[in-house]
C-alpha cells in the first residue's frame, strides 16, 4: 500500500484536490443561505480549505512530476485530433461534475442525485390514465408499456421509452400531448379516449381501475399525483356535468 501511494501520489493528490473542490462548490450551492450559520458548517469548510492548501503545497513541491505526467499524456500514440477532443471533453465534464450541473453535451450524470425524505406516504397511489371502450370492455392505454418491444399493444418501435416517458410524465398535463396521442390512436381505429383512475393499495396489494368519469376528474384535481394532473378532454368534463 505504501509503495502504491508513493508511486501514484500525484494521481491520488489530483483526485483528492478535485473531489474536495467539487464538494466545496456543491456544498455552497446546497447550503445556500445557511453557509456560515453554524460551527459545524464552518468546521466543514475549514477542513476542506486545509486539504486544498495541503494539495497545493504538494503540487508546488512536485511540479516536475506534474510536468512529466503532462508530457507522458502528450506522448500517447493516438492521433492529435483525438487528444484535443479528449482534453476538451474531459475539461468540460470535470467542470460539470464539480459544479453538479449539466450543460449539454457536458454532463454531471446527476439524473437521480436529488434526495427524497420518503416518510408516511399514503398506502394508496392513484394514477389517472387514458382508456377506451372496446366490445363493452374498458381498455387502459398504458403508454409506458408501448416502449417495450415484447409488451406493446398499439404502437411500434419508433415509440421509444423516451417518447413514452415524455407522454406519460413530462407533458401529460398539456392538451397538445393529448391531441398527439389521440391522433395516433385514431389512426389505429380508436376514436375516443377517456380518463380513468388506475390505483394500487400497497397494504392489501389490490390493484383496480376506476372508469367513473367524474371520479377521475375529482381525483385528478384533489390527490397528489406523480408529475401532476393529467389533461382531461372537454368532452369528459361535459359528460360528467350532464350527469
Amino acid at each position: 500500500m505504501k509503495d502504491f501511494i508513493e508511486k501514484y501520489n500525484i494521481w491520488i493528490s489530483l483526485a483528492l484536490f478535485y473531489l474536495t473542490v467539487a464538494d466545496v462548490i456543491q456544498s455552497w450551492f446546497y447550503l445556500g443561505e445557511n453557509v456560515g450559520n453554524s460551527f459545524k458548517i464552518k468546521l466543514f469548510f475549514f477542513l476542506h480549505i486545509a486539504i486544498l492548501t495541503g494539495c497545493l503545497i504538494f503540487f508546488i513541491s512536485n511540479k516536475n512530476k506534474i510536468i512529466s505526467l503532462i508530457n507522458k499524456l502528450k506522448q500517447l500514440p493516438i492521433p492529435n485530433g483525438a487528444k484535443w477532443a479528449i482534453a476538451i471533453v474531459l475539461i468540460g465534464n470535470l467542470i460539470s461534475i464539480a459544479v453538479g450541473r449539466p450543460s449539454y453535451p457536458f454532463y454531471d450524470v446527476g439524473m437521480f442525485r436529488w434526495t427524497t425524505h420518503f416518510k408516511d406516504a399514503p398506502k394508496v397511489v392513484y394514477k389517472p390514465k387514458y382508456f377506451y371502450w372496446k366490445d363493452g370492455e374498458s381498455k387502459i392505454l398504458d403508454l409506458r408499456k408501448e416502449g417495450y418491444y415484447l409488451l406493446h399493444e398499439h404502437f411500434g418501435l419508433r415509440y421509444t421509452h423516451e417518447f413514452t416517458f415524455a407522454a406519460t410524465y413530462h407533458n401529460k398535463g398539456q392538451k397538445e400531448n393529448f391531441d398527439f396521442i389521440m391522433q395516433k390512436m385514431k389512426e389505429r381505429g380508436i376514436d375516443t379516449l377517456w380518463v380513468g383512475v388506475h390505483a394500487v393499495n400497497y397494504e392489501t396489494k389490490e390493484v383496480w381501475f376506476n372508469t367513473d368519469l367524474c371520479d377521475a376528474i375529482r381525483i385528478n384535481q384533489t390527490e397528489k399525483i406523480h408529475y401532476g394532473p393529467i389533461y382531461i378532454p372537454n368532452y369528459q368534463m361535459e359528460r360528467c356535468n350532464e350527469n
Binding site: 456543491q26 456544498s27 446546497y30 500514440p77 396489494k205
Partner: protein, 294 residues
C-alpha cells in the same frame, strides 16, 4: 491475486494491440443505436409540446432556430448518415457530419427533454470514432477498396476501444459521485428515499406490474429494502472507476451494471440497458474478436 496497474491501466492498454473486428462491431452497434434513437417519435412530440427546460452550451436563439426550422431535416439527415455508418460506406467522411448532426439534433431533444439522456452514451464515442479506423472491417468501404491504404499502427484498433471504456467508467462513476456529493447531502441519499419514491410512484407503469399485476410487498414501508438497493447501486457505480486502473474486473463490472439496469428496467426506469450494453462491447478483451486483422 496481484495486479500491476502500471501495465493494466487505461493509458497502458491504449498502447496495446487491439482488434479491428471489435472496433467495427462497436461502430455497427453504435450506428444502429443512433438510427433507433433519432427515429424516435419523441422528436415529433417535442415539436408540439412544451417539454422540460434545460440549459445547453448553445445559445437560446440557436436552439430556437434548430427547433423551428431544422429538426425534421436534421432527423432525416441523422437517420440517413447512421445507415451509412452501419454499412461502413464513406465512413471517414460521414462520421464528422453525423457527429455534428447528432449533436445538434440532440441539443434540441435535451433542451425539451431532460431525462432519460441516452445521448450521453453516444455522443463522445461517436466523436472518437471520427479519429479511428472503424471502417477497416465489416464495411462496404473495405469491400470496394475505399478504406485507408496505409498500414494501421499497432494500437490503431485498441485506443478508441479503451477511450470508450473510459467513457463507460466516467458515466457510472460520475453517477455515483452525483449521489454522494456534496457529502452533506450524500448521507441522506443513502437512506433509499429517492429509490423508494420512484418505485412507489411508478409501479403501475412498470414491467413488474405489467407481468405480475400486483406489488410483491408494501412499497410504502420497508425502507430498509430500498436503502440496501440504493447502497448496492452506489457501490456498483463507484466500482466502475476500476476500469481506469485495470481490465481484470471488466466481466464482473459488466455483470453488475447490467444487473442494476435490468432491475431498473423492471421497476420502470428502462432506458439505459441497451446503451450500456453497446458500450460494454468495449470492455470485452480484444482476443474475443480476433479471428482476423489484429
Amino acid at each position: 491475486m496481484k495486479i500491476d496497474i502500471s501495465t493494466t491501466n487505461i493509458l497502458a492498454r491504449m498502447q496495446q494491440q487491439g482488434s479491428a473486428n471489435q472496433l467495427a462491431i462497436f461502430r455497427i452497434l453504435l450506428g444502429i443505436q443512433i438510427l433507433y434513437a433519432s427515429s424516435s417519435m419523441l422528436l415529433d412530440l417535442l415539436l408540439v409540446v412544451k417539454g422540460t427546460s434545460i440549459p445547453t452550451i448553445f445559445p437560446d436563439f440557436f436552439n430556437a432556430f434548430v427547433a423551428s426550422i431544422d429538426v425534421p431535416y436534421l432527423q432525416i439527415v441523422t437517420i440517413a448518415l447512421s445507415v451509412f455508418l452501419i454499412f461502413g460506406l464513406f465512413t471517414r467522411y460521414i462520421l464528422p457530419l453525423l457527429f455534428v448532426s447528432f449533436l445538434l439534433l440532440f441539443s434540441f431533444w435535451y433542451s425539451r427533454f431532460d431525462a432519460p439522456v441516452q445521448w450521453l452514451y453516444i455522443w463522445f464515442p461517436l466523436l472518437i470514432l471520427c479519429f479511428s479506423r472503424s471502417e477497416d472491417c465489416y464495411s462496404l468501404d473495405n469491400l470496394i477498396g475505399l478504406s485507408r491504404k496505409s498500414l494501421p499502427s499497432k494500437n490503431a484498433y485498441r485506443w478508441p476501444i479503451e477511450v470508450v471504456s473510459g467513457w463507460f467508467a466516467y458515466i457510472y462513476f460520475a453517477a455515483g459521485l452525483a449521489k454522494i456529493l456534496p457529502i452533506v447531502k450524500g448521507i441522506n441519499w443513502l437512506d433509499g428515499g429517492t429509490s423508494q419514491q420512484i418505485i412507489y410512484d411508478r409501479f403501475l407503469d412498470s414491467v413488474l406490474y405489467f407481468i405480475f399485476r400486483q406489488p410483491f410487498f408494501d412499497y410504502a414501508t420497508n425502507s430498509w429494502i430500498f436503502a440496501s438497493l440504493s447502497i448496492g447501486s452506489l457501490i456498483i457505480e463507484l466500482l466502475c472507476v476500476l476500469i481506469f486502473f485495470t481490465n481484470r474486473f471488466n466481466y464482473l463490472i459488466i455483470f453488475l451494471v447490467m444487473s442494476m439496469h435490468f432491475f431498473l428496467f423492471l421497476t420502470g426506469v428502462p432506458a439505459f440497458m441497451q446503451t450500456a450494453l453497446i458500450l460494454s462491447i468495449c470492455l470485452l478483451p480484444p482476443q474475443l474478436f480476433t479471428r482476423t486483422k489484429t
